[in-house]
Symmetry: C2
Subunit: 334 residues, 2 copies
């Protein structure tokens, strides 16, 4: 086993938290997942974070002294510079949790703190779809639409109030907008998340005279999923095809809007909905090409993420690594 | 007269070009304007640029040796890093004009090149509305909607293809979108530019049963202006009030979208339409507060620009100044 520095990344989600040890080249050595159990309170949660980090170090079979830094990523709302979770809807009843301070004190190591979608974007940028590129916008397509923006040289666009890169909540419809899960109207997320895909489909199925194979689904207790709808579209169902096409269109609108604002070298889609595969991505690309500035239609890459559910902890580790690197840089001469 | 370095900024527009000498604190010493006369061709145009710069130096009554750098700002399309105007709609028939190289060779001085709206944003950031702030988004409201994004520390978000900060061309309507001057559908510019305000008003005036003082305007050869409409609204005209309110709403949508992506410390509105005054700005703020994330509603400043038509050349000078500063920074020790 080499003596190069290693980093631990921890990705805290509403259901599980996942930690992994990552080497200096971004290769994960091992990772572990434990249930978050947010309902047990934030003191328990902080303990669970440290436990998950310790388990990851053990699973990687490395000496604790080899760990140079830690990075922790959590869902919003948050204060990134101060390392505090504020009032995240997915981690009730946590409030004002000093994550960075706690983990840093527990391990005595430089500890970075980051938004989970920003971390996932940095992970993809470092060793996933963005490897070798200069700048990138990530959209994560799941129950919501999240995202992160990496500017030239690997700088996360955090924003002044830790609200940068909230790409699911750009408004793309003003007339007759759909209501978003966030309570706002016309957000991209209200059209293009997996939840929105299901909701839009269910509304159409309830309309008179609509025929679709989706009517015949043996709907389980948890109901229809976006996966069912993409499968029906792949099998040629007309309604499902229309829904999928509209979803691709709205994602293209979001993509174009980010291209006209950020003009990144590439746009990457991650999250569960990427299971829809290459045909779906091609429809997104098609609509982007139809709408965006010609130079961007030609130049900007659009592709899927590559790290799956590991992007978060790898990106969190990258944040820890960047912090350690900054701390090690000698001060400039006076 | 002191010996501190001075900078010349040149702002090339479709009708006139304006150059000014600016000191190290951003104070303009003098400025001159000459007609662009793009139709006379790009060789003439390059000569006119140098002539305008020389006139500005003369008007400022400074010694040419005091000029440390030059910055030139032009409308798009362009290749910023290479200093080339590509095919700008406002400067026909210019194509592939090596502006930076030409001006640099002519004066033998470090010469920066920048998009005009980006330069205006940097000017406002340096010594205008943004003075003392960390980051800023500028919307310029005129015949179109332009803009520029300044990130922490004064870095212009140029984008990978010189298309960053094209905030007028984010799509805010997908269902029944208006056609934009750029040929796209549903762009912010199609709702919120001065041109769009006039067009939307004229359409309503043509509807049956619409009463408005605007019907009685002594319309001059050039037709109704956005100023007429804002004046009618201020005088209580119902239709004009509705149009102004909708315009404020759409600008708030654009503002919110940029706040959710960039999360800047402030959003600034510049350009001719700011003549509408404080009441209009307050309506924009109202709609933003209604829609945006609560923390941003509380924290992000929204205000008018302060430099008027000088922002472009002052910002261009700031680009020259940054270039000179970068060139003068000693290399770090090995």
């Amino acid at each position: 086993m080499s003596n190069t520095p290693l980093f631990v990344g921890l990705d805290v989600g509403g259901t599980t938290m996942k930690a992994g040890v990552v080497d200096d080249a971004g290769r994960p050595l091992a990772n572990v997942s434990l249930p978050t159990e947010a309902h047990r309170g934030q003191e328990f949660g902080l303990g669970r974070m440290c436990e998950t980090i310790r388990e990851a170090i053990r699973a990687a079979k490395v000496r604790p002294e080899q760990i140079a830094a830690i990075g922790v990523a959590t869902p919003g709302t948050m204060d990134i510079p101060n390392g505090i979770i504020l009032d995240p809807p997915n981690l009730k009843p946590w409030q004002n949790v000093p994550v960075r301070r706690h983990v840093q004190d527990e391990f005595g190591l430089p500890t970075a703190f980051q938004n989970d979608a920003n971390a996932a974007a940095l992970g993809e940028y470092w060793v996933g779809a963005g490897r070798g590129h200069r700048s990138m916008v990530l959209f994560t397509l799941g129950t919501g639409v999240g995202g992160g923006i990496i500017l030239g040289g690997g700088q996360i666009l955090e924003g002044e109030n830790s609200a940068g890169g909230e790409v699911g909540h750009i408004k793309v419809e003003c007339s007759r907008p759909r209501i978003c899960g966030c309570g706002r109207k016309g957000c991209l997320e209200a059209y293009a998340s997996a939840t929105a895909v299901v909701k839009r489909t269910q509304e159409r199925l309830e309309e008179n005279g609509v025929h679709s194979a989706l009517h015949d689904l043996p709907v389980a207790a948890e109901g229809m999923t976006a996966r069912d709808i993409f499968a029906a579209a792949a099998a040629g169902d007309e309604l499902a095809t229309k829904i999928v096409e509209e979803t691709a269109f709205y994602l293209a609108v979001g993509t174009m809007n980010l291209m006209h604002v950020i003009d990144p070298q590439m746009v990457v889609f991650g999250g569960g909905m990427t299971a829809a595969g290459e045909a779906f991505l091609e429809r997104i690309r098609h609509h982007v090409r139809e709408m965006v500035f010609p130079v961007l239609a030609e130049k900007t890459k659009i592709c899927y993420a590559q790290l799956g559910g590991d992007a978060g902890f790898i990106g969190a580790a990258a944040c820890g690594r960047a912090l350690a690197a900054a701390a090690l840089t000698p001060l400039p001469p006076r």
